[in-house]
Symmetry: C3
Subunit: 275 residues, 3 copies
């Protein structure tokens, strides 16, 4: 059974998310709607890109992600429909699928045929289309149509989507001995998730040195319990990305790290020079 | 398919909302329960009145809204059951349906027959009725009964509900050239939603001047993208109400506005005097 | 119809909770998943223990609670499966079921057979088991299996669970005239819920004196409306535990109370000495 999965920066003080669910429920009774999250930092496309990529493989095939982090709503930014492994994404074309496109190179991306969406799923009688709430009027209906098996009716032309450079990793020096990445997301516990993936680290040999802000960590830990309370550590987190953490405290606060900050990983072997 | 729609100021630190869902699920398995919101400012009946009105038309006919913003729980305030367009509202009689009553003049309001609710939907064995949590013991069961088609069994006598004056607009001067309204709700982004509706503005002609706190705005914008980042604007928001916003920043913080603050709209035509 | 009920300290900024739902939905389409809460203070086992106990009786028989407040993830702490009244609990063995075990002495507790869980409910293809996110890889699958009627397949040996002393009450002096308890949880409104239950108070006679921090309250109130706005009161809350509150304000802030603080209740009869 497919689901609609909602990811927005709308928070939960307002009617925005509930109304998106009402719109879906009105047209598609029985379609499960799951909250991936609404409390990422407002307008943080980078956090949204990370959550989308982290969650993707854990939802059943046929599911449709509706991602609305959209500071440019009402401007001329486009809208997209993406597909991979039987799952769908509806989003503004502003970089939200960057990490997904990196980890799933076969991601297919199309323009969303907004006229088709509005024709198949018009707003309730007496309600006007909005210039400021495409999540309700366009994205939620489009995602519901995908989860209901009608993606083919709202798929436009193939599109080369906007991609955010911070979602990628730079390999520097011989044999990729130095990686430059970025803090993508700070989680509730203050763990700083970076763009460096396990697959970036596997070719590296010898001791790994991780640097971000003023902290320099030697080697990766496997669990928080390996260090004392309040001590920093680097580990590959539960979604496969390198994280900088403090045991039972906030690494972001204690180390002064935030989304967008640079991180580097070096491998040191024998007496070879460091990069 | 009808749904129960929950709107409270209970927040999400506590068991209150989850338990209301358990109560509904125990008696009405399969009935969809949707969160409209639980994170409005504690005891803010005005915010609750706005969210209720904003969301109303977007849920399927047969749905029952359960609204619990109830600083007077345990006092002698009454309880009500309201109906309009096939949708139901269960709430304390403290002004929560004010905006709904204004926008839907045919809203029918009745006393909730609490004895009938408790008889049809008694608390679990061994659990006592509470003096402080009517949401769990009374309102959630009543809303579930409405969504399950049994509103007729719990409808009491017709009632003239409490209404909040701030939910309405004052038309001043000849031909309604000056409107006085109120900030109803500040959303997550700091947008200040007012009680001035699109239908109040349509009769006005010429340039509109919007004033709230120290800000004076000339004319309405259609989208946030029409002004520079950090600049203020007035626009008719996605639910039809006038909002005062800042592009990609918080109008509430930058302009010092909050729920309950006055707002005025004037129309200026040619050399006519201003009011 | 049974449900999976999720209680974590994961907050809602992240993908953690959504992904647990995706995991459940992927294997058990149609199984209802309800949020009990994710916004308790991070690592607060005491708050989690309270919410679990408060909500327990309100969910349908067959439901499975998945409780993940787990500062020791990755250490050698065990995992447990508990049962009472046809309901199930999956949790780390770190004290989370303390209040439940106190209020339901017949709670049966077993080791969770993690190998059986992973065999019945392996992670998606290509995804590795995590050392840091047992909620996704182990607890959510185990709870889903319980709610789906398969608890018998993942039940290990009987276990004596870790219990937190703060979840209990000390009876001091003749005839239990003095009770010592603890603040278990501070709710959204700043109400301070204590470990003192209605059943502890019932044997006490005469005037009750409640002390916590610098506040001393004479007698119990039945509703908030019995005192003036901003005044403190003690009452038996809607889940049967003694609470210290302020009418329409935060007792925690105004009185400087927090989770873990001591509270005492004395009964004063005639001219008997106070303890």
């Amino acid at each position: 059974v497919a689901a609609v999965v909602l990811l927005t920066d709308f928070g939960t003080r307002d009617a925005y998310v509930g109304v998106m669910k009402g719109v879906i429920l009105s047209r598609h009774p029985g379609l499960p709607v799951v909250d991936l999250g609404h409390d990422i930092d407002p307008h943080s496309i980078l956090s949204g890109a990370y959550l989308l990529c982290a969650a993707w493989d854990y939802f059943p095939a046929g599911s449709a992600f509706c991602a609305v982090v959209d500071p440019g709503v009402g401007s001329s930014r486009g809208t997209l429909l993406a597909e991979q492994g039987g799952r769908y994404l509806i989003a503004p074309d502003n970089g939200l699928p960057s990490l997904l496109a990196r980890m799933h190179p076969r991601l297919e991306v199309y323009t969303l045929d907004t006229a088709a969406v509005l024709s198949l799923h018009p707003p309730p009688e007496g309600v006007r289309l909005s210039h400021t709430f495409h999540g309700r009027d366009l994205f939620a209906p489009a995602a519901a149509l995908c989860a209901a098996g009608q993606a083919g009716s709202i798929r436009g032309a193939a599109l080369r989507p906007q991609l955010l450079p911070e979602a990628f990793v730079q390999h520097v020096g011989p044999a990729g001995r130095l990686l430059r990445g970025t803090v993508l997301h700070v989680d509730r516990f203050g763990n700083c998730v970076t763009s460096v993936h396990r697959s970036d680290l596997e070719p590296l040999q010898g001791l790994l040195l991780v640097e971000a802000g003023a902290v320099r960590l030697r080697g990766l830990s496997r669990t928080y319990a390996e260090v004392a309370r309040g001590e920093p550590l680097a580990l590959v987190g539960s979604f496969g990305f390198l994280e900088i953490s403090l045991r039972e405290d906030s690494a972001a606060r204690a180390l002064g790290l935030k989304t967008g900050d640079p991180v580097t990983v070096r491998s040191r072997q024998g007496d070879q020079p460091e990069y």
